[in-house]
Point group: C2
Chain length 141, copies 2
């Protein structure tokens, strides 16, 4: 089980737009060649990021550009923008037996702990901004 690569592709895409956007026109073809995937994958990613209000994409003339300040965009925002997880992170088996004392109470016993774990993950993602990544990237360049 892994969290879909849509997430890291989206981060990669945003870094390209925010860091290289002044130098180059950021078309889906350009970004696709940096990420090394099919341009359609990038267009889908751009659609999601646009719907989340993080970037803008010019139809026709082409090119993606920043909308939000990179300080305001966290990894969590990107993670939700590309729908990595639909609601609960942990999967339950359906219809446990209500006749059984365990089956009847398994949700009551487990749910809060699983929610805590998911929240811990998400809080960590909220603590990192696009701006943080850009600073780190600039040191490496």
């Amino acid at each position: 089980m892994k969290i879909t690569s849509r997430f890291t592709v989206a981060v990669h895409t945003l870094l390209a737009i925010y860091v290289l956007g002044n130098e180059y026109k950021m078309t889906s073809d350009f970004i696709a060649s940096s990420v090394n995937v099919n341009p359609v994958i990038i267009r889908r990613t751009l659609s999601s990021l646009k719907a989340a209000g993080i970037i803008d994409v010019k139809a026709g003339s082409g090119g993606a550009m920043p909308v939000q300040d990179p300080d305001a965009v966290t990894l969590y925002d990107i993670y939700t923008a590309v729908d990595c997880v639909d609601g609960d992170l942990f999967n339950f088996h359906e219809n446990p037996n209500p006749e059984c004392p365990i089956g009847k109470n398994i949700h009551a016993v487990l749910d809060s702990h699983l929610a805590d774990a998911q929240t811990a993950l998400e809080n960590e993602l909220k603590s990192v901004t696009l701006s943080d990544l850009m600073k780190r990237l600039n040191i490496l360049l």
Copy 2:
């Protein structure tokens, strides 16, 4: 994306064994009817939990029983026992373009943050023991 139900099935299975094990013989059929899945699913779960040293399973005569103290078994132990995640939780797209400044450095920029998020999740799972769940369950019964 969701974490496989093998995990919650395994927790359910262990609660059954630890809480009802004195009253009933815990066969795969018995547990399967509480969880409401095919008995083979439970046998596979029991195999994993046995391999992790948490329980013992009697072939032939049948029945599963506790080995480890419930205080010593955390949700994380169960999570790893059933292989919810193989190594990294977050998936990367393969072979980003090394000619591109972003592609070349995307791992250096992202990896540690993703590892932190994964660790936060896992630490939360480590903080809950089977014993905690049993106490909560006893209140509800």
